[in-house]
Symmetry: C2
Subunit: 163 residues, 2 copies
């Protein structure tokens, strides 16, 4: 489980809970600490495992009952790849709208954003009369760098911005 400087995501979620008069239990605290201490995408089962490392009393049921709160807060994103299980993305606290590329060569997931998508929303409003409320874009791609000497920049950036 990777570490990162704990930002305000955690505090923002605690505030979200308080606003709904929901309680901060030791188990929820362990789960929340875990979620906002990683940048990785994770599954429910992984979150259980990692949270138990902090507080052994965390149960599977509590993880599954806490995840909807996290997504409802808008601070954690829910992602559907082709898999049966759901993946969760803690990076929505900082970047509410971002998109995902799955690298077909190394499996890495790259996050990106582009102004073109905002433009596309304008086009949709104009042509189809829809006011876009949310979007999720998944792409699979092969790494062109692999085909050149030097290879895949696999261990470099894990998130990129293409503004």
């Amino acid at each position: 489980m990777p570490e990162r400087a704990e930002k305000s995501g955690k505090e923002r979620f605690l505030h979200f809970l308080a606003g709904k008069r929901l309680r901060i239990t030791s188990q929820r605290r362990a789960i929340i600490d875990t979620v906002f201490a990683t940048e990785e995408h994770f599954t429910a089962e992984e979150l259980l495992e990692w949270s138990r490392a902090r507080d052994h009393s965390v149960s599977r049921a509590t993880v599954y009952r806490t995840l909807p709160l996290l997504t409802a807060s808008g601070l954690v994103g829910e992602m559907d790849f082709g898999k049966n299980r759901k993946y969760y993305d803690p990076n929505y606290a900082d970047r509410p709208y971002h998109n995902h590329i799955v690298c077909l060569d190394c499996g890495r997931i790259v996050e990106f954003d582009s102004d073109r998508l905002a433009e596309l929303e304008g086009e949709i409003r104009k042509r189809l009369g829809f006011s876009v409320q949310s979007r999720r874009l998944y792409m699979s791609a092969s790494c062109e760098a692999l085909r050149k000497p030097g290879g895949c920049p696999r261990r470099q950036q894990t998130a990129a911005t293409a503004h």
Copy 2:
């Protein structure tokens, strides 16, 4: 189950099976006839029900074993909304790359495409070094027409193109 003029989707899939030396059984025929006679998105369970209306001997197992063949052929798309179940889209035979908007007001699913997405792929190649192989874009949107006199054009188009 809606009807439509049966296009070449069915024939293309039969050809796909023949190319893999796979057999055309009566059950598969019922499933294939069903898939390519609708424009609607459907679930595995719906496909089972509709196929059984044509051939009562179709089993759930055969439906589940045939769906991967359909998606592997590229003629049927697999869609992941937030739901646990998968939805299948038979319209990939005609339009291999299209995207989905779910209307928050009436639940209708609108298909669309835009050149901007091809442009985005070019941007991604240039900036991130990824050659995009596939993409899936889901948007949720509210219908602006609803807010004007005349209301939502709900029963009109079910597919739209925004080229």
